[in-house]
Symmetry: C2
Subunit: 211 residues, 2 copies
């Protein structure tokens, strides 16, 4: 799905709308300290469960930051990358439907729109439950994320999903067993902890007991 | 605990060892795209359970990135901050014992050292089980984190913890009920999703059934 043919890295432009790095200074117990951090957008994520077919609905996509992270974990920083040595598939993640909070709408409404755009399910906002609020990247960004839960049926499917503009997002349906495997001891996932947390919360609180 | 008397923000220096921002360019389906991201260190986190007293052992600390994130979520970017309007306590988090992978040692050994430094428990590495591996900050850093689990007793306590150097880390013991409250629906935590995930994994797999 990723179909990446070239990858290279350059300087962050001063006016990046996505990554705004800072050094924060503070005096703690009389000692001046500093911490390097960046502002990233707050976000929402949604645990989506299709009850018509007992499937968890997730999204798969190429994540440049993960691709970069996998390579630099192994060989340090780079300017150009050998795609044969590091196939782009190593940067493909499995995640909850999610999106950034960059509009002046309620967070639940943003979650609703992401469900339509990424996964194709169109439901009224009243059907979306808030699960939990927490802070991601406590060492680097401290952005807020709110997690939601929504049960959908095949009747709620309004389009095929896949994102808007030049987003390339693949909708993935997981059986309950496949979801459980992702959160088993020993699992190695190209997924964020929020996704694994959402799956665990689902299995502890919402999954059909008999399945 | 935080005792912060002044906070201000400046430019990220070019040579920051902690936050290295980049713009990554790539060609996908013939279209040139880019993504702004940063390299952060890979890390370990440990779910620590003291069986002598049936307590989960976590750490509390002032997190500059969270403090910055809370303020900018509300009022946008800032140069200097009014500590009365934004008390530093809003930047204090509750997290798993954790640390960055910046030494040429095994990841489990780094987890072992963090347990000693942050929480004061000194155990042989063989007693530390790997739980899961995943990618944090899939949109911004894609860093790898490995989660571990370790049961400790009061006999393993070698020092009072609290971090090394000028780290100010408070060791916090949670009862099982307090831990469960953190992962209940509706919870709002100044904690990262990895911490909540670790607690959920503990309750699903390790917590005493009768407690």
């Amino acid at each position: 799905m990723e179909n990446i043919t070239k990858v290279w890295v350059g300087k962050l432009p001063e006016d990046s709308p996505y990554v705004k790095p800072f050094r924060m200074y503070y005096v703690q117990n009389g000692v001046e300290k500093n911490w390097d951090l960046l502002k990233v957008h707050d976000s929402v994520a949604i645990v989506l469960y299709n009850t018509s077919r007992q499937k968890l609905v997730l999204v798969r996509q190429f994540r440049p930051a993960v691709y970069h992270g996998v390579i630099t974990s192994e060989k340090g920083t780079f300017d150009k990358v050998d795609l044969a040595a590091f196939p782009p598939a190593i940067g493909v993640t499995l995640e909850l439907c999610a999106g950034i909070v960059d509009k002046s709408k309620s967070w639940a409404e943003i979650a609703r729109e992401e469900m339509v755009e990424e996964c194709g399910y169109d439901v009224p906002v009243e059907r979306i439950e808030q699960v939990m609020v927490y802070r991601s990247g406590v060492g680097s960004s401290g952005a807020k994320q709110a997690m939601y839960y929504c049960e959908v049926t095949d009747d709620d499917k309004a389009n095929s999903g896949g994102g808007v503009g030049d987003e390339l997002i693949e909708v993935v349906e997981l059986s309950l067993d496949e979801g459980r495997q992702m959160v088993q001891q020993g699992a190695v996932n190209n997924s964020p902890p929020s996704c694994l947390m959402g799956l665990m919360w689902f299995f502890a609180n919402k999954a059909p007991k008999s399945a």
